[in-house]
Symmetry: C2
Protein backbone atom coordinates (compact mmCIF):
# COMPACT_ATOMS: atom_id res chain seq x y z
CA UNK A 1 0.00 0.00 0.00
CA UNK A 2 1.65 3.15 -1.20
CA UNK A 3 0.83 6.56 0.13
CA UNK A 4 2.28 8.57 -2.72
CA UNK A 5 0.18 9.22 -5.80
CA UNK A 6 1.17 6.83 -8.57
CA UNK A 7 0.57 8.41 -11.90
CA UNK A 8 2.14 5.52 -13.75
CA UNK A 9 -0.71 3.30 -12.61
CA UNK A 10 -2.93 5.21 -14.98
CA UNK A 11 -0.87 4.25 -18.00
CA UNK A 12 -2.42 0.87 -18.48
CA UNK A 13 -5.99 1.84 -17.75
CA UNK A 14 -8.70 2.55 -20.25
CA UNK A 15 -9.11 5.90 -21.88
CA UNK A 16 -12.21 7.97 -22.39
CA UNK A 17 -14.27 7.37 -25.51
CA UNK A 18 -15.38 10.76 -26.77
CA UNK A 19 -17.87 9.24 -29.20
CA UNK A 20 -19.66 7.34 -26.46
CA UNK A 21 -23.07 8.40 -25.27
CA UNK A 22 -22.09 7.97 -21.65
CA UNK A 23 -20.66 11.28 -20.49
CA UNK A 24 -16.97 11.74 -19.87
CA UNK A 25 -17.36 12.26 -16.14
CA UNK A 26 -19.26 8.99 -15.78
CA UNK A 27 -16.66 7.14 -17.83
CA UNK A 28 -13.90 8.55 -15.68
CA UNK A 29 -15.73 7.67 -12.48
CA UNK A 30 -16.13 4.14 -13.76
CA UNK A 31 -12.46 3.86 -14.73
CA UNK A 32 -11.37 4.98 -11.28
CA UNK A 33 -13.81 2.60 -9.64
CA UNK A 34 -12.55 -0.30 -11.72
CA UNK A 35 -8.99 0.62 -10.80
CA UNK A 36 -9.94 0.33 -7.16
CA UNK A 37 -11.72 -2.97 -7.74
CA UNK A 38 -8.62 -4.32 -9.49
CA UNK A 39 -6.47 -3.28 -6.57
CA UNK A 40 -4.50 -0.71 -8.60
CA UNK A 41 -5.58 1.83 -6.03
CA UNK A 42 -5.82 0.22 -2.63
CA UNK A 43 -7.42 1.28 0.59
CA UNK A 44 -5.65 4.37 1.89
CA UNK A 45 -3.78 5.11 -1.34
CA UNK A 46 -3.54 8.63 -2.64
CA UNK A 47 -5.07 9.17 -6.04
CA UNK A 48 -3.24 11.07 -8.77
CA UNK A 49 -3.93 14.77 -8.40
CA UNK A 50 -6.66 16.45 -10.34
CA UNK A 51 -4.09 18.16 -12.55
CA UNK A 52 -2.53 14.80 -13.40
CA UNK A 53 -5.90 13.29 -14.21
CA UNK A 54 -6.75 16.29 -16.39
CA UNK A 55 -3.55 15.78 -18.38
CA UNK A 56 -3.77 12.03 -18.60
CA UNK A 57 -7.37 11.83 -19.73
CA UNK A 58 -7.43 15.10 -21.68
CA UNK A 59 -10.51 16.48 -20.00
CA UNK A 60 -11.20 19.73 -18.21
CA UNK A 61 -10.77 20.18 -14.47
CA UNK A 62 -14.53 20.37 -13.95
CA UNK A 63 -14.98 16.95 -15.49
CA UNK A 64 -12.36 15.35 -13.27
CA UNK A 65 -13.85 17.12 -10.28
CA UNK A 66 -17.28 15.83 -11.07
CA UNK A 67 -16.11 12.24 -11.42
CA UNK A 68 -14.29 12.45 -8.10
CA UNK A 69 -17.27 14.07 -6.38
CA UNK A 70 -19.45 11.17 -7.47
CA UNK A 71 -17.06 8.66 -5.93
CA UNK A 72 -16.86 10.75 -2.76
CA UNK A 73 -20.66 10.79 -2.56
CA UNK A 74 -20.72 7.04 -3.03
CA UNK A 75 -18.27 6.64 -0.19
CA UNK A 76 -15.30 5.32 -2.13
CA UNK A 77 -13.01 8.34 -1.82
CA UNK A 78 -12.22 11.05 0.66
CA UNK A 79 -10.72 14.40 -0.33
CA UNK A 80 -8.65 16.50 2.02
CA UNK A 81 -7.98 20.02 0.95
CA UNK A 82 -4.33 20.73 0.42
CA UNK A 83 -3.35 17.09 0.92
CA UNK A 84 -4.93 14.98 -1.74
CA UNK A 85 -7.66 12.50 -2.54
CA UNK A 86 -7.52 9.06 -0.96
CA UNK A 87 -9.20 5.69 -1.28
CA UNK A 88 -11.53 5.29 1.67
CA UNK A 89 -11.33 2.05 3.63
CA UNK A 90 -14.53 0.03 3.62
CA UNK A 91 -16.68 0.51 6.69
CA UNK A 92 -19.79 -1.30 7.73
CA UNK A 93 -21.46 1.95 8.68
CA UNK A 94 -21.96 2.76 5.01
CA UNK A 95 -24.47 -0.04 4.74
CA UNK A 96 -28.06 1.10 4.28
CA UNK A 97 -31.23 -0.92 4.13
CA UNK A 98 -33.68 0.69 1.75
CA UNK A 99 -37.44 0.40 1.54
CA UNK A 100 -37.16 0.49 -2.22
CA UNK A 101 -38.13 -3.17 -2.46
CA UNK A 102 -41.30 -2.43 -0.56
CA UNK A 103 -42.07 0.30 -3.04
CA UNK A 104 -41.62 -2.12 -5.91
CA UNK A 105 -44.18 -4.45 -4.39
CA UNK A 106 -46.74 -1.69 -4.41
CA UNK A 107 -46.04 -0.50 -7.91
CA UNK A 108 -46.61 -4.00 -9.26
CA UNK A 109 -50.36 -3.72 -9.58
CA UNK A 110 -50.70 -7.01 -11.38
CA UNK A 111 -49.57 -9.05 -8.41
CA UNK A 112 -50.47 -6.79 -5.51
CA UNK A 113 -53.86 -6.18 -3.97
CA UNK A 114 -55.07 -4.36 -0.91
CA UNK A 115 -57.93 -5.58 1.25
CA UNK A 116 -59.47 -3.19 3.74
CA UNK A 117 -60.55 -5.08 6.84
CA UNK A 118 -62.02 -2.17 8.71
CA UNK A 119 -62.37 1.58 8.51
CA UNK A 120 -64.18 3.65 11.09
CA UNK A 121 -64.10 6.91 12.92
CA UNK A 122 -62.93 6.49 16.47
CA UNK A 123 -61.75 8.55 19.41
CA UNK A 124 -58.04 8.73 20.06
CA UNK A 125 -56.79 6.77 23.04
CA UNK A 126 -53.86 7.93 25.12
CA UNK A 127 -51.19 6.45 22.93
CA UNK A 128 -52.67 7.60 19.65
CA UNK A 129 -53.26 11.08 21.02
CA UNK A 130 -49.68 11.28 22.18
CA UNK A 131 -48.26 10.17 18.85
CA UNK A 132 -50.48 12.49 16.84
CA UNK A 133 -50.19 15.36 19.33
CA UNK A 134 -53.95 15.76 19.65
CA UNK A 135 -56.13 15.73 22.77
CA UNK A 136 -57.40 12.37 23.99
CA UNK A 137 -60.81 11.72 22.52
CA UNK A 138 -60.15 13.68 19.33
CA UNK A 139 -61.63 11.90 16.36
CA UNK A 140 -59.39 9.86 14.08
CA UNK A 141 -60.04 7.59 11.13
CA UNK A 142 -58.83 4.11 11.94
CA UNK A 143 -58.00 1.74 9.12
CA UNK A 144 -56.87 -1.85 9.08
CA UNK A 145 -55.81 -3.47 5.85
CA UNK A 146 -53.87 -6.36 4.43
CA UNK A 147 -51.58 -6.18 1.43
CA UNK A 148 -51.41 -9.33 -0.66
CA UNK A 149 -48.70 -10.34 -3.09
CA UNK A 150 -50.15 -13.01 -5.35
CA UNK A 151 -52.76 -14.00 -2.75
CA UNK A 152 -50.18 -14.29 -0.01
CA UNK A 153 -50.67 -11.81 2.84
CA UNK A 154 -47.34 -10.05 3.24
CA UNK A 155 -48.19 -6.90 5.16
CA UNK A 156 -50.72 -6.01 7.82
CA UNK A 157 -51.27 -2.31 8.24
CA UNK A 158 -53.00 -0.33 10.94
CA UNK A 159 -53.21 3.43 10.76
CA UNK A 160 -54.80 6.35 12.59
CA UNK A 161 -55.44 9.45 10.51
CA UNK A 162 -56.52 12.70 12.13
CA UNK A 163 -60.13 13.27 11.15
CA UNK A 164 -60.59 16.25 8.89
CA UNK A 165 -64.22 17.04 7.98
CA UNK A 166 -63.02 18.90 4.90
CA UNK A 167 -61.63 15.73 3.36
CA UNK A 168 -63.88 13.09 1.84
CA UNK A 169 -63.63 9.75 3.56
CA UNK A 170 -64.45 7.36 0.84
CA UNK A 171 -63.04 3.96 1.46
CA UNK A 172 -61.76 3.57 -2.04
CA UNK A 173 -59.98 6.89 -1.76
CA UNK A 174 -58.42 6.09 1.56
CA UNK A 175 -56.83 3.11 0.00
CA UNK A 176 -55.19 5.28 -2.59
CA UNK A 177 -54.39 8.31 -0.51
CA UNK A 178 -52.55 6.68 2.30
CA UNK A 179 -50.77 3.82 0.61
CA UNK A 180 -50.56 3.91 -3.12
CA UNK A 181 -49.66 7.57 -3.15
CA UNK A 182 -47.03 7.21 -0.49
CA UNK A 183 -45.31 4.44 -2.31
CA UNK A 184 -45.72 5.36 -5.92
CA UNK A 185 -45.34 9.08 -5.38
CA UNK A 186 -47.94 10.10 -7.91
CA UNK A 187 -49.68 13.42 -7.76
CA UNK A 188 -49.32 16.03 -5.10
CA UNK A 189 -49.51 15.37 -1.42
CA UNK A 190 -50.21 17.16 1.82
CA UNK A 191 -47.29 15.36 3.37
CA UNK A 192 -44.09 17.26 3.95
CA UNK A 193 -42.09 14.67 5.83
CA UNK A 194 -42.23 11.43 7.70
CA UNK A 195 -40.42 9.33 10.25
CA UNK A 196 -40.20 5.58 10.01
CA UNK A 197 -38.94 3.30 12.73
CA UNK A 198 -38.09 -0.34 12.31
CA UNK A 199 -38.44 -2.78 15.17
CA UNK A 200 -38.26 -6.51 15.57
CA UNK A 201 -41.39 -7.81 17.27
CA UNK A 202 -43.10 -11.00 18.28
CA UNK A 203 -46.31 -11.28 16.33
CA UNK A 204 -49.45 -11.45 18.42
CA UNK A 205 -52.30 -13.84 17.69
CA UNK A 206 -54.26 -11.41 15.56
CA UNK A 207 -51.26 -10.55 13.41
CA UNK A 208 -50.25 -14.18 13.00
CA UNK A 209 -53.75 -15.13 11.97
CA UNK A 210 -54.01 -12.40 9.38
CA UNK A 211 -50.56 -13.10 7.96
CA UNK A 212 -51.20 -16.84 8.09
CA UNK A 213 -48.13 -17.81 10.06
CA UNK A 214 -47.70 -20.02 13.12
CA UNK A 215 -46.75 -18.63 16.50
CA UNK A 216 -44.32 -17.96 17.96
CA UNK A 217 -42.63 -15.97 15.24
CA UNK A 218 -40.61 -12.79 14.99
CA UNK A 219 -40.98 -10.21 12.26
CA UNK A 220 -40.37 -6.63 11.28
CA UNK A 221 -42.58 -3.79 12.32
CA UNK A 222 -42.42 -0.47 10.49
CA UNK A 223 -43.92 2.35 12.48
CA UNK A 224 -44.54 5.61 10.69
CA UNK A 225 -45.66 9.14 11.43
CA UNK A 226 -46.33 11.61 8.64
CA UNK A 227 -46.36 15.39 8.95
CA UNK A 228 -48.03 18.16 6.98
CA UNK A 229 -46.46 21.41 5.83
CA UNK A 230 -46.97 22.94 9.24
CA UNK A 231 -45.05 20.04 10.76
CA UNK A 232 -48.19 18.74 12.43
CA UNK A 233 -48.74 14.99 12.50
CA UNK A 234 -51.31 13.70 10.02
CA UNK A 235 -51.21 10.00 10.63
CA UNK A 236 -49.63 7.30 12.71
CA UNK A 237 -49.50 3.66 11.83
CA UNK A 238 -47.58 0.45 11.61
CA UNK A 239 -46.86 -2.21 9.08
CA UNK A 240 -46.21 -5.73 10.26
CA UNK A 241 -44.61 -7.94 7.67
CA UNK A 242 -44.80 -11.62 6.97
CA UNK A 243 -41.38 -12.72 8.18
CA UNK A 244 -40.38 -14.91 5.25
CA UNK A 245 -41.41 -12.37 2.61
CA UNK A 246 -39.82 -9.28 4.06
CA UNK A 247 -36.06 -9.15 3.96
CA UNK A 248 -33.57 -6.36 3.91
CA UNK A 249 -30.12 -6.58 2.39
CA UNK A 250 -27.32 -4.08 2.00
CA UNK A 251 -23.97 -4.07 0.29
CA UNK A 252 -20.76 -2.29 1.06
CA UNK A 253 -17.62 -1.88 -0.97
CA UNK A 254 -16.88 -2.45 -4.62
CA UNK A 255 -18.95 -4.80 -6.70
CA UNK A 256 -21.16 -5.00 -9.76
CA UNK A 257 -19.46 -2.17 -11.55
CA UNK A 258 -21.68 -1.98 -14.57
CA UNK A 259 -22.17 0.38 -17.46
CA UNK A 260 -24.78 2.41 -15.66
CA UNK A 261 -24.36 6.12 -15.35
CA UNK A 262 -22.88 7.17 -12.05
CA UNK A 263 -21.42 3.74 -11.52
Amino acid sequence: MSQKPDETALGKTKSIDRDSYTPAYAQLARILKLSMADGIFKSGDQLPSEAQLVKHYSVSPMTVRRAINILIDQGYLVAEQGRGTFVKPLTIGEAAFKLQELQEIFSDEERTSVNILETRITKADERTASKLKIPIGHRTVFIRRVIYLENLPILYHREHIIYDPKLPIVEAELEVISLQRLFSGTGDSMIKSGEIRMDATLLNEEEAKILKVKLPVASFCLQHIFYDFENKPISWGRFVGRPDSLRFTARVGLQNIGDETYE
Copy 2:
Protein backbone atom coordinates in the same frame (compact mmCIF):
# COMPACT_ATOMS: atom_id res chain seq x y z
CA MET B 1 -50.63 23.39 -7.46
CA SER B 2 -49.31 25.02 -10.58
CA GLN B 3 -47.53 23.18 -13.33
CA LYS B 4 -45.96 26.19 -14.98
CA PRO B 5 -42.69 27.56 -13.70
CA ASP B 6 -43.31 30.56 -11.51
CA GLU B 7 -40.40 32.90 -11.66
CA THR B 8 -42.14 35.48 -9.56
CA ALA B 9 -41.99 33.11 -6.62
CA LEU B 10 -38.27 33.74 -6.49
CA GLY B 11 -38.72 37.44 -5.93
CA LYS B 12 -39.28 37.25 -2.22
CA THR B 13 -36.69 34.57 -1.47
CA LYS B 14 -33.25 35.11 -0.09
CA SER B 15 -30.33 36.02 -2.25
CA ILE B 16 -26.86 34.58 -2.32
CA ASP B 17 -24.27 36.08 0.00
CA ARG B 18 -21.03 36.29 -1.94
CA ASP B 19 -19.00 37.04 1.17
CA SER B 20 -20.18 33.90 2.92
CA TYR B 21 -17.88 30.95 3.41
CA THR B 22 -20.56 28.51 2.34
CA PRO B 23 -20.29 28.11 -1.41
CA ALA B 24 -22.83 29.61 -3.77
CA TYR B 25 -24.10 26.25 -4.98
CA ALA B 26 -24.79 25.13 -1.41
CA GLN B 27 -26.55 28.39 -0.61
CA LEU B 28 -28.70 28.04 -3.71
CA ALA B 29 -29.53 24.41 -2.91
CA ARG B 30 -30.57 25.48 0.57
CA ILE B 31 -32.70 28.34 -0.74
CA LEU B 32 -34.53 26.00 -3.11
CA LYS B 33 -35.00 23.45 -0.35
CA LEU B 34 -36.41 26.07 1.99
CA SER B 35 -38.77 27.21 -0.76
CA MET B 36 -40.07 23.67 -1.01
CA ALA B 37 -40.40 23.39 2.75
CA ASP B 38 -42.37 26.64 2.81
CA GLY B 39 -44.68 25.35 0.14
CA ILE B 40 -43.60 27.95 -2.43
CA PHE B 41 -42.75 25.05 -4.69
CA LYS B 42 -45.14 22.19 -4.12
CA SER B 43 -45.06 18.56 -5.04
CA GLY B 44 -45.21 18.26 -8.81
CA ASP B 45 -44.48 21.92 -9.52
CA GLN B 46 -42.06 22.89 -12.22
CA LEU B 47 -39.06 24.84 -11.05
CA PRO B 48 -37.90 27.99 -12.80
CA SER B 49 -35.60 27.06 -15.65
CA GLU B 50 -31.87 27.05 -15.21
CA ALA B 51 -31.58 30.19 -17.33
CA GLN B 52 -34.07 31.99 -15.06
CA LEU B 53 -32.22 30.91 -11.95
CA VAL B 54 -28.92 32.04 -13.47
CA LYS B 55 -30.37 35.50 -14.11
CA HIS B 56 -32.18 35.81 -10.81
CA TYR B 57 -29.30 34.77 -8.57
CA SER B 58 -26.51 36.15 -10.78
CA VAL B 59 -24.51 32.95 -10.85
CA SER B 60 -23.13 30.87 -13.69
CA PRO B 61 -25.03 27.96 -15.23
CA MET B 62 -22.63 25.46 -13.67
CA THR B 63 -23.46 26.72 -10.22
CA VAL B 64 -27.19 26.42 -10.75
CA ARG B 65 -26.69 23.00 -12.26
CA ARG B 66 -24.69 21.83 -9.30
CA ALA B 67 -27.28 23.02 -6.79
CA ILE B 68 -30.02 21.25 -8.72
CA ASN B 69 -27.97 18.07 -9.04
CA ILE B 70 -27.56 17.97 -5.29
CA LEU B 71 -31.30 18.17 -4.77
CA ILE B 72 -31.85 15.51 -7.42
CA ASP B 73 -29.35 13.23 -5.65
CA GLN B 74 -31.15 13.84 -2.38
CA GLY B 75 -34.42 12.85 -3.99
CA TYR B 76 -36.20 16.20 -3.83
CA LEU B 77 -36.24 17.00 -7.53
CA VAL B 78 -36.50 15.19 -10.83
CA ALA B 79 -35.20 16.62 -14.10
CA GLU B 80 -36.61 15.66 -17.46
CA GLN B 81 -34.61 16.67 -20.44
CA GLY B 82 -36.43 19.06 -22.69
CA ARG B 83 -39.32 19.45 -20.26
CA GLY B 84 -38.09 20.94 -17.06
CA THR B 85 -37.19 20.28 -13.45
CA PHE B 86 -39.96 19.27 -11.07
CA VAL B 87 -40.51 18.84 -7.36
CA LYS B 88 -40.61 15.13 -6.65
CA PRO B 89 -43.50 13.81 -4.57
CA LEU B 90 -42.46 12.19 -1.33
CA THR B 91 -42.25 8.42 -1.47
CA ILE B 92 -41.66 5.94 1.28
CA GLY B 93 -39.20 4.03 -0.84
CA GLU B 94 -36.63 6.76 -0.29
CA ALA B 95 -36.36 5.77 3.34
CA ALA B 96 -33.10 4.10 4.28
CA PHE B 97 -32.02 2.57 7.55
CA LYS B 98 -28.31 3.09 8.05
CA LEU B 99 -25.84 1.19 10.18
CA GLN B 100 -24.13 4.46 10.98
CA GLU B 101 -25.37 4.33 14.55
CA LEU B 102 -23.77 0.95 14.98
CA GLN B 103 -20.53 2.41 13.76
CA GLU B 104 -20.75 5.19 16.30
CA ILE B 105 -21.07 2.65 19.09
CA PHE B 106 -17.81 1.07 18.06
CA SER B 107 -15.89 4.28 17.66
CA ASP B 108 -16.78 5.30 21.21
CA GLU B 109 -13.95 3.44 22.88
CA GLU B 110 -14.66 4.95 26.27
CA ARG B 111 -18.00 3.26 26.63
CA THR B 112 -17.59 0.21 24.42
CA SER B 113 -15.74 -3.00 25.17
CA VAL B 114 -15.43 -6.33 23.44
CA ASN B 115 -15.26 -9.62 25.28
CA ILE B 116 -14.12 -12.71 23.38
CA LEU B 117 -15.99 -15.75 24.66
CA GLU B 118 -14.32 -18.31 22.48
CA THR B 119 -11.88 -18.59 19.60
CA ARG B 120 -10.82 -21.86 18.10
CA ILE B 121 -9.96 -23.54 14.85
CA THR B 122 -12.72 -25.81 13.69
CA LYS B 123 -13.84 -27.70 10.62
CA ALA B 124 -16.54 -26.18 8.48
CA ASP B 125 -19.93 -27.85 8.69
CA GLU B 126 -22.25 -28.00 5.74
CA ARG B 127 -23.80 -24.60 6.25
CA THR B 128 -20.55 -22.77 6.89
CA ALA B 129 -18.90 -24.47 3.92
CA SER B 130 -21.77 -23.45 1.69
CA LYS B 131 -21.68 -19.82 2.80
CA LEU B 132 -17.90 -19.54 2.49
CA LYS B 133 -17.73 -21.63 -0.69
CA ILE B 134 -15.17 -24.01 0.74
CA PRO B 135 -15.27 -27.82 1.02
CA ILE B 136 -16.89 -29.31 4.09
CA GLY B 137 -14.24 -29.95 6.70
CA HIS B 138 -12.02 -27.06 5.59
CA ARG B 139 -10.55 -25.33 8.59
CA THR B 140 -12.05 -22.07 9.80
CA VAL B 141 -11.43 -19.84 12.77
CA PHE B 142 -14.56 -19.61 14.85
CA ILE B 143 -15.04 -16.64 17.15
CA ARG B 144 -17.77 -15.76 19.60
CA ARG B 145 -17.78 -12.39 21.27
CA VAL B 146 -19.98 -9.95 23.08
CA ILE B 147 -19.94 -6.20 22.62
CA TYR B 148 -20.77 -4.16 25.69
CA LEU B 149 -21.93 -0.58 25.85
CA GLU B 150 -21.32 0.65 29.37
CA ASN B 151 -21.39 -2.88 30.79
CA LEU B 152 -24.65 -3.70 29.05
CA PRO B 153 -24.36 -6.50 26.48
CA ILE B 154 -25.81 -5.08 23.28
CA LEU B 155 -24.45 -7.35 20.56
CA TYR B 156 -23.58 -11.02 20.36
CA HIS B 157 -21.36 -11.90 17.43
CA ARG B 158 -20.43 -15.25 15.94
CA GLU B 159 -18.12 -15.45 12.96
CA HIS B 160 -16.34 -18.04 10.84
CA ILE B 161 -13.17 -16.86 9.13
CA ILE B 162 -11.44 -19.02 6.54
CA TYR B 163 -8.23 -20.27 8.11
CA ASP B 164 -5.13 -18.86 6.45
CA PRO B 165 -1.82 -20.17 7.82
CA LYS B 166 -0.07 -17.06 6.50
CA LEU B 167 -2.01 -14.82 8.85
CA PRO B 168 -1.23 -14.66 12.55
CA ILE B 169 -4.09 -15.72 14.75
CA VAL B 170 -3.52 -13.73 17.83
CA GLU B 171 -6.63 -13.24 19.82
CA ALA B 172 -5.96 -9.61 20.43
CA GLU B 173 -5.50 -9.06 16.72
CA LEU B 174 -8.63 -10.88 15.75
CA GLU B 175 -10.56 -8.51 17.86
CA VAL B 176 -9.18 -5.62 15.92
CA ILE B 177 -9.11 -7.10 12.46
CA SER B 178 -12.63 -8.31 12.21
CA LEU B 179 -14.55 -5.73 14.13
CA GLN B 180 -12.80 -2.51 14.94
CA ARG B 181 -11.35 -2.22 11.48
CA LEU B 182 -14.62 -2.92 9.79
CA PHE B 183 -16.41 -0.27 11.72
CA SER B 184 -13.82 2.43 12.11
CA GLY B 185 -12.32 1.96 8.69
CA THR B 186 -8.74 2.55 9.76
CA GLY B 187 -5.80 1.25 7.83
CA ASP B 188 -5.91 -0.93 4.79
CA SER B 189 -7.95 -4.04 4.46
CA MET B 190 -8.11 -7.24 2.48
CA ILE B 191 -11.84 -6.78 2.13
CA LYS B 192 -13.21 -5.60 -1.18
CA SER B 193 -16.91 -5.89 -0.51
CA GLY B 194 -19.54 -7.29 1.77
CA GLU B 195 -23.18 -8.27 1.93
CA ILE B 196 -25.28 -7.70 5.00
CA ARG B 197 -28.74 -9.11 5.53
CA MET B 198 -31.10 -8.07 8.26
CA ASP B 199 -33.63 -10.48 9.70
CA ALA B 200 -36.02 -10.47 12.59
CA THR B 201 -35.49 -13.54 14.76
CA LEU B 202 -36.61 -15.12 17.98
CA LEU B 203 -33.66 -15.26 20.32
CA ASN B 204 -32.68 -18.72 21.44
CA GLU B 205 -31.73 -19.56 25.03
CA GLU B 206 -28.00 -19.06 24.55
CA GLU B 207 -28.48 -15.67 22.92
CA ALA B 208 -30.98 -14.52 25.53
CA LYS B 209 -28.63 -15.57 28.33
CA ILE B 210 -25.67 -13.72 26.86
CA LEU B 211 -27.67 -10.59 26.12
CA LYS B 212 -29.38 -10.83 29.49
CA VAL B 213 -32.96 -10.68 28.29
CA LYS B 214 -35.97 -12.81 29.09
CA LEU B 215 -37.52 -15.17 26.58
CA PRO B 216 -39.51 -15.08 24.45
CA VAL B 217 -38.18 -12.00 22.68
CA ALA B 218 -37.66 -10.88 19.11
CA SER B 219 -34.63 -9.00 17.87
CA PHE B 220 -32.55 -8.07 14.89
CA CYS B 221 -30.01 -10.37 13.33
CA LEU B 222 -27.38 -8.96 10.98
CA GLN B 223 -25.81 -11.62 8.85
CA HIS B 224 -22.69 -10.69 6.92
CA ILE B 225 -20.34 -12.17 4.34
CA PHE B 226 -17.16 -10.37 3.36
CA TYR B 227 -15.20 -10.89 0.15
CA ASP B 228 -11.56 -10.36 -0.79
CA PHE B 229 -10.24 -8.74 -3.98
CA GLU B 230 -10.73 -11.96 -5.89
CA ASN B 231 -14.39 -11.95 -4.82
CA LYS B 232 -13.82 -15.00 -2.66
CA PRO B 233 -15.58 -15.12 0.71
CA ILE B 234 -13.35 -14.42 3.70
CA SER B 235 -15.75 -14.64 6.57
CA TRP B 236 -19.35 -15.31 7.46
CA GLY B 237 -21.00 -14.28 10.66
CA ARG B 238 -23.97 -12.81 12.43
CA PHE B 239 -24.68 -10.15 14.97
CA VAL B 240 -27.65 -10.54 17.26
CA GLY B 241 -28.67 -7.37 19.00
CA ARG B 242 -30.22 -6.65 22.34
CA PRO B 243 -33.73 -5.70 21.25
CA ASP B 244 -34.15 -2.58 23.35
CA SER B 245 -30.75 -1.13 22.45
CA LEU B 246 -30.83 -1.61 18.71
CA ARG B 247 -33.24 0.57 16.81
CA PHE B 248 -33.35 1.82 13.28
CA THR B 249 -35.03 5.00 12.15
CA ALA B 250 -35.34 6.70 8.81
CA ARG B 251 -36.75 9.98 7.61
CA VAL B 252 -38.30 11.02 4.34
CA GLY B 253 -39.17 14.43 2.98
CA LEU B 254 -38.19 17.90 4.05
CA GLN B 255 -37.06 18.63 7.55
CA ASN B 256 -34.17 19.95 9.59
CA ILE B 257 -32.89 22.23 6.88
CA GLY B 258 -29.80 23.54 8.59
CA ASP B 259 -26.73 25.47 7.63
CA GLU B 260 -24.77 22.38 6.75
CA THR B 261 -23.16 22.09 3.39
CA TYR B 262 -25.21 20.08 0.93
CA GLU B 263 -28.31 20.63 2.97
